[in-house]
């Protein structure tokens, strides 16, 4: 049985729908191109309620999470959100996630929809007796507001001074009269916010719909098509495509997530192996001169296969085919010229450090006022 989010009535009326991770979700409202450009140039909103949201609280919560992720947890101050990974014993990535530290001993863990059940099982298998991880997915909604105008779109709905909320910080407040958590995070490369709305459900979706409809008056509703092209253009991996249980953080080019010297978490001994830290293959960005790379296309040098495309699309900003892929370490230097086989023809591909757009012009680091 396909699940729906609290905003489904809006999507069904306005969007082309698709199934994703067991949910019926909007694929696009107008076109993926227009929605993508709205986020890069102005502001877009996404229903991300399908993502799993778990509440972890109580005296043991910091040490519990500390034992699950390679990133230091106790060193994060309350009000901080951070990106990290759940690993298996072999150091493979079970999921990538955001942990929001709401207070000293209260956390919200936000995970990929497709992995939510697996993550919950994994977390519970490492939980102390009588420790509870509460699944908040159905009793909350989540909306992302992304783009250079995200702040001005959201500010009229909340008394929280958004200009004082820094990137990767979060705060509980009210949004359009609803209790909510606002974090300055996202999956597009742009400035923006992810809003978790508390105390709403599929039976009582008014709170979530109210926030969405007010934001929709100043931001462009965006579907999963634009969500995917935006994250890819920013160079963010998608779990299940670019990274999975067989990829470790070093292969995934996510070594920065592994706090130096940290031990005592699932996967730590596997990651301590020299081979794990110097993997044969590493995740890289590629820009093609022509053609559009897609998942599974082969990457080669002049003589042999040197890797595989794990996700690819057409970049609306640089107007070229772009990809993320796993590439043999020996061919992974930035600037290296490789080829991607696009339907029997070899297209030149340059190993490139994402994001694929010019950071002076696009993305959260962009120069203001030009």
């Amino acid at each position: 049985m396909t699940k729906t989010t609290q905003l489904h009535s809006y999507h069904a009326q306005h969007a082309k729908l698709t199934e994703f991770a067991g949910y019926e979700m909007p694929l696009w409202y107008t076109t993926t191109m227009d929605e993508h450009l709205a986020v890069r140039n102005s502001s877009g909103i996404f229903d991300v309620s399908h993502m799993g949201r778990f509440s972890v609280q109580g005296g043991n919560s910091t040490s519990f999470l500390e034992g699950l992720v390679p990133t230091g947890v106790g060193s994060q101050p309350p009000g901080k959100a951070f990106y990290t990974l759940l690993l298996n014993d072999k150091g493979g990535i079970i999921d990538d996630l955001i942990i929001e530290r709401l207070s000293e001993d209260r956390y919200l863990v936000v995970v990929n929809a497709a992995n939510a059940e697996t993550d919950m099982r994994h977390m519970m298998s490492h939980a102390p007796r009588e420790f509870e991880v509460r699944d908040m997915t159905a009793s909350t909604a989540m909306i992302a507001v992304q783009g250079p105008k995200a702040e001005s779109s959201l500010q009229p709905l909340t008394e929280l001074d958004l200009s004082q909320l820094k990137r990767f910080r979060c705060a509980e407040t009210k949004v359009a009269g609803e209790n909510a958590l606002v974090s300055r995070t996202g999956y597009t490369g742009e400035d923006g916010f992810e809003i978790t709305i508390y105390g709403t459900s599929n039976e009582h979706p008014r709170g979530a719909l109210g926030v969405w409809e007010r934001l929709a008056s100043t931001s462009t509703p965006c579907g999963l098509g634009a969500r995917d092209s935006l994250r890819l253009e920013a160079g963010f991996p998608l779990h299940g495509s670019d990274i999975d249980q067989h990829t470790n953080p070093f292969e995934a080019d996510l070594a920065w997530v592994v706090s130096a010297g940290k031990t005592g978490y699932v996967g730590d001994s596997a990651l301590a192996e020299p081979n794990a830290r110097n993997p044969q293959k590493v995740r890289r960005g590629l820009v093609l001169t022509s053609g559009i790379p897609r998942h599974g296309f082969e990457i080669s040098d002049s003589s042999a296969s040197v890797g595989v495309v794990t996700s690819g699309t057409f970049s609306p900003i640089i107007r070229k085919g772009i990809a993320l892929g796993l590439v043999n370490r020996g061919h992974s230097d930035f600037g290296a010229q490789l080829a991607v086989e696009v339907r029997e023809s070899l297209q030149t591909a340059t190993v490139t450090k994402p994001p694929f757009y010019d950071e002076k012009l696009f993305g959260w680091k962009r120069q203001k006022g030009i």
């Binding site: 082309k16 694929l27 696009w28 076109t31 993926t32 191109m33 227009d34 993508h36 098509g225 995917d228 092209s229 053609g291 559009i292 897609r294 699309t313 057409f314 609306p316 085919g321 339907r343």
Partner: protein, 152 residues
């Protein structure tokens, strides 16, 4: 002529049918794979239908056969790609390509904006059109085909 189910109104102005918002000009021939063919004197123009273009959502890349290359009826002749997906194009007729729409190199969005006009793909000198046209659908038959697809 009996109108197929879902047929709304024949718009006299554009001489086309409209099936759930998808335009189907009366004067063209169609494949079940959503390509169209239009006889223009000695050549036949080829493109994809409004339904195909709208389903792709935002055409960003077109690969067509080059002039002088051969195409065969209902065999793959190229691809049309959106941000999200790749779609194979099947040639409605056999023959030799006389022209490819070079405007699409820099403006692939013309396929969405004008699938039956500026967004045409190739022009073919047909080798066996008299016989092959019998296996193509006219507008009414294509409309019925589209209707049955949309009902699924």
């Amino acid at each position: 002529m009996e109108a197929p189910e879902g047929y709304i109104e024949a718009k006299a102005a554009c001489e086309c049918m409209d099936i759930q918002g998808y335009h189907i000009p009366d004067e063209l021939l169609y494949t079940k794979e959503h390509e169209w063919a239009k006889e223009e004197g000695p050549v036949v123009k080829v493109g994809i239908t409004d339904y195909a273009a709208k389903t792709l959502n935002d055409v960003v890349y077109v690969t067509s056969p080059k002039p002088a290359s051969k195409v065969e009826q209902l065999k793959p002749m190229g691809t049309v790609e959106s941000i999200k997906a790749v779609s194979e194009i099947y040639s409605p007729i056999s023959g030799v390509v006389t022209r490819a729409n070079s405007q699409l190199d820099s403006h692939p969005e013309l396929v969405n904006k004008s699938p039956y006009g500026e967004g045409w793909l190739i022009e073919v000198k047909p080798s066996n059109f008299a016989t092959e046209r019998k296996s193509l659908l006219d507008a009414t038959a294509y409309a019925a085909h589209l209707n049955s697809l949309l009902k699924k």
